[in-house]
Each structure stands twice: as C-alpha cells, then as structure tokens.
C-alpha cells in the first residue's frame, strides 16, 4: 500500500509544487494520475520510491516511511520507470541493461539468464537482446526501460508516461500487461496524458492540478465530468464527446470507449426499429 499523508513539496529555492496532498493506493489497485503539464504529477510519483522526500507530510510504502530508507532500499519495493528512457538506459546491450539490477541485487547467474530472457519476450524485445539500446526507436527504448525495472519484480510499479511513442498494438500489450501486474497484487500507478488509453483501461483516475488533487474516482465518472476535465487541461475521450453530443440521456453519460458505445448504439437503433414496427 502506498500512503501519502498531507504531503507538500518545493524544490530548493523553487516554487511549491505540491500542496497538502493526501492519497492512498491499495495493493492490487490500478491508478492513473492525470493533469496539465506542470501539475506536479512527476514530482508526486518521484516520492513513491524516495527519490524525492516531502518537505512536509509523510510518504509510506507498506507501512515504511520513505524518509527512513535509502532510494536503493525503496527501489526494490517500488519500481519507477522514467518518462524519458534515456535518463535510465546506459548498458551496451539490451540484455545487459536488463541484467544489471539483478546482478546488483545479488541474484545467481542462472536466475538472471532466465529472468532476462523471459522479460525480453514479455515486452517483445527478444530480437534486440544483443543490440545497443541507443540504436532502437523511441518506443522500443521505452519498452527496454520498462523491462529493466520489471525484471526484478518490484512490489509496486510506477510508470511515468508509458504510452509515449507506443503504437496501438503496443498499447494493447501494455494494457494486458498492467492487468497481469495488478492481478499479482501490485499497486500499479501510471502518469499519463493519454485519455484514450485511460478510457480503455478504466483505472481509478486521480486528477492533479497546480499541485492539488481536484478529482478522484472511476475513469468513467472523472473523464466525463466536463468541468473537471477542462480544469486539468484534459479532453474527454472522443466517444464520450460523441455520445454527449447525440443524447440527453443521463444513463449513457458514462460511456467512454468503443465497445460500450457499439452496444449502446445497437440497443438504441433496435429500440427505434421496434417502435417503428409497432407504429
């Protein structure tokens, strides 16, 4: 469990980025943190593995205060994947990149080999095992960065903008992958601007604006609340905008993705057809 209690933060000599944030994320919960550029999202998640320590308030991971531990100790528990993979990657080959942390954590060479191979496959990187991470495309480097953290099986996983540079199929793969992590009882937190990805995953959404939480609830409710969406510089999912424009029916308001929309329209069209038949 990740518990954020009354956390405020300012960078040295900088403006205050977070103002008294309270947030609790349970094991096996999937949360998307959304909000405008500069809202404080990345600052907030850097607290989760102790990379930043709050100026005021406390951050606890499974009951342990991050202030009392080193980043190295916390990282074993909380894997944080950065927005820009180039801040994270450094090894000569993709396989070495994945093996690096495992060697540091003292796993045996057998287990390292096994885990590296299985995570290369999981993220569709097997063909690049011997390549330098730096010859890969942006989207591929992003997946290497993800694999390099997941390979040591951290208890909770935080991903900063995981969908940038990913195509649709990779996003579907990421979505399945997150479902798998959540079912293993991990708390999974993503920071994202990708409204359509969130509409398809339907996690709990926490809206951050100017360092304060302005909304917290299911994606279907938060992403269809036009005032909240506007305040956080987001946009409603296309499907929600479409349905809003077509109906005044309150029941249809929480439809945010294509499959629910298809079922809704089929029902509506068939109901109309029946009415016509009777008339």
């Amino acid at each position: 469990m990740i518990s954020i209690h009354n956390v405020s933060f300012n960078y040295p000599d900088g403006p205050q980025v977070l103002h008294g944030v309270n947030l609790e994320i349970k094991d096996g919960e999937f949360v998307a943190i959304m909000g405008e550029n500069g809202a404080g999202k990345t600052t907030l998640v850097k607290m989760f593995n102790g990379l930043l320590k709050p100026t005021k308030g406390t951050v606890e991971i499974d009951g342990v205060k991050t202030k009392e531990k080193s980043v190295a100790q916390m990282s074993r528990e909380v894997g944080l994947i950065f927005q820009n993979p180039d801040n994270q990657l450094f090894a000569e080959t993709v396989a070495q990149e994945l093996g690096f942390s495992l060697r540091n954590f003292g796993f045996t060479e057998d287990i390292i080999q096994q885990r590296v191979i299985s995570y290369l496959h999981l993220l569709d990187l097997q063909q690049y095992a011997a390549s330098s991470p730096f010859v890969l495309s942006g989207g591929e480097r992003k997946r290497v960065a993800l694999a390099a953290i997941l390979v040591w099986d951290p208890k909770h996983v935080i991903m900063d903008e995981p969908t940038i540079g990913q195509d649709y199929l990779q996003k579907e793969r990421l979505r399945n992958f997150i479902t798998q992590l959540v079912s293993q009882g991990k708390a999974v937190v993503i920071v994202t601007h990708d409204v359509e990805f969130v509409a398809e995953c339907k996690p709990r959404v926490v809206l951050l604006s100017h360092g304060t939480i302005i909304g917290d609830g299911p994606a279907t409710r938060i992403l269809t609340d036009s005032a909240l969406v506007e305040e956080a510089s987001l946009r409603m999912p296309q499907i929600a905008t479409l349905i809003n424009g077509l109906t005044s029916n309150g029941a249809s308001r929480e439809i945010i993705e294509i499959y629910a929309a298809r079922d809704y329209f089929l029902k509506e069209i068939r109901a109309k057809a029946k009415l016509l038949e009777r008339a």
Binding site: G138, G165, Y168, L169, L234, I239, L242, G245
Partner: protein, 259 residues
C-alpha cells in the same frame, strides 16, 4: 527503409504514422539531411527537397529549406530567453541583425509567444515551449516543416493548441507540413493526406478517410476512436462511411438513429 518512393505537393499537410520502429523518424532525418550527413549508414536512391538535392548538402544550408521540430522541446531550447532562443538559428546562419530582429518578431507573433519573449524557456508550460521551438525554426523561413511527434509530451489541451498552430502556419504561409504523429484523434481533421509506414515501407497513402481502413487497424496504428466505432458498427451491418472527426461521426450516427 526500403524502396520508399513518394512526392509531396507544396502546401499540403501530411501525417506520417506507423508502428513504433517502422522507420518514420529515419525518413524524417532523410528530409533534412541528418541522414546521410550526420548519421552513418547506407543511403541509396534520390532525395530532392524543396528543389534541392539533399545528398552532399550541408545540414545548415538545408535548414533554410526544411525546418525540423523535435518531440521534446527541451532538446531544442537552451537560451536565457525565448527571444534569444528564437534568434539562435538566424545568428548561426549569419543573417544581418536588423533583418534577424524583424524575422524573430514575426516568428514569435505567428506562433503566439511574442508576449513570452523575455521569459526563460523553463518558465514556460510544455505547450508554450513547443511553440517557442517552432518559432525558432520558423524564423529561418523554411518552406517545409517536419515535426517528429511534437505533441507527445503535452497535455491534451496543449497538444490541440500546437496542432492548430501548425495547421494555421501551413494554411497562412503555404508551408508544406510533414507531421509524424500517433495521436490521430487530434491531427486527422487537418490532414490532406496520411502515409502509413510499416517495416520500412510506405504501406498506405491517401486521404484520412481512405487510409483509415481495416488494414490500417491491423498494421497497428491507433485510429481515431470514432473511426474505430464506425468499423465496429459496419460489422453489425450498418452502412457507415469512415468518419474521421467527432463532428463527422455525430452527423452519420444522427442519421442512423433517425431512420
């Protein structure tokens, strides 16, 4: 890339998209001479951009023909003020001071960062930074703008704002726009043409309405959700065209609901 052949007419707005690793960025680097002049590798075939044969031309010389905007504006901005940043390229090209000042002012107005000219780039929001980066490129007066996922670090509101600035520049100045983008939901309304790359080749090429078909979906590009919904409803036997925007989908579905 393998056997890529195409030409783009002046003043068109073209989206270049495709799965990650398909060769989009490589193709863009060919358009401004970074390939073969800066990156190593083998390049065969002919490349003419704005009437200039790219091979053997200095990247600096090409910069006045083709402007290149990167994904992350932070990689493009580094001066102490927006105005200095916008003028940096011109200074490097040795443009006379009077003329440079005039062009910088013009570029800042065209992208809406004139009021921010004295601010440091790090004081700007992501969307403002990207507009400042575009202004710096625009000041060099290229005829062609190549933008490699310029919205991916931006929140949806700033992303829309950037794309509409780009479309306006294309329209008002007659610039040719080549925009690499995954966020087709935001950009499709402006596009004259969409080229889909896969495996280093151009697989689909046409108007958004023509290109956003079943094959595009299978290649793995993220079509606008309203287009995907139309595909699903077509499978149920309804006769829908390929809506590309919410407005088009609204009018098509309204028709369906009222018959």
């Amino acid at each position: 890339m393998e056997g890529v052949t195409f030409s783009i007419e002046k003043g068109k707005f073209v989206i270049l998209t495709g799965p990650s690793g398909c060769g989009k960025t490589t193709l863009c680097r060919c358009l401004n001479g970074l390939i073969p002049n800066f990156y190593s590798g083998q390049l065969t075939g002919e490349l003419e951009v704005d009437g200039v044969n790219v091979k053997g031309k200095a990247t600096a010389e090409l910069a006045t023909h083709v402007g290149f905007v990167f994904q992350n504006p932070e990689n493009q901005l580094f001066s102490l003020s927006v105005e200095r940043d916008v003028g940096f390229g011109l200074e490097n090209l040795g443009v006379p001071r009077e003329q440079a000042i005039e062009r910088v002012q013009w570029a800042m107005r065209a992208t809406g960062v004139f009021e921010l000219r004295d601010k440091a780039p790090h004081e700007l929001s992501g969307g403002q930074q990207q507009r400042a980066a575009i202004a710096g490129i625009l000041a060099m007066r290229p005829n062609i703008l190549v933008l490699d996922e310029p919205t991916s670090f931006l929140d949806p509101k700033s992303a829309e704002e950037i794309v509409s600035v780009i479309a306006k520049l294309g329209h008002d100045l007659g610039l040719t726009i080549v925009l690499v983008e995954h966020r087709l939901d935001i950009v499709s309304r402006y596009a004259d043409r969409v080229m889909v790359m896969d495996g280093g080749k151009i697989q689909l090429d046409g108007s958004p309405r023509e290109v956003y078909n079943e094959q595009a979906r299978l290649i793995g590009i993220g079509l606008p959700r309203v287009t995907m919904l139309a595909h699903l409803l077509r499978k149920e036997g309804f006769n829908l065209l390929n809506p590309v925007t919410v407005e088009e989908a609204t009018s098509e579905l309204r028709g369906l609901l009222n018959t």
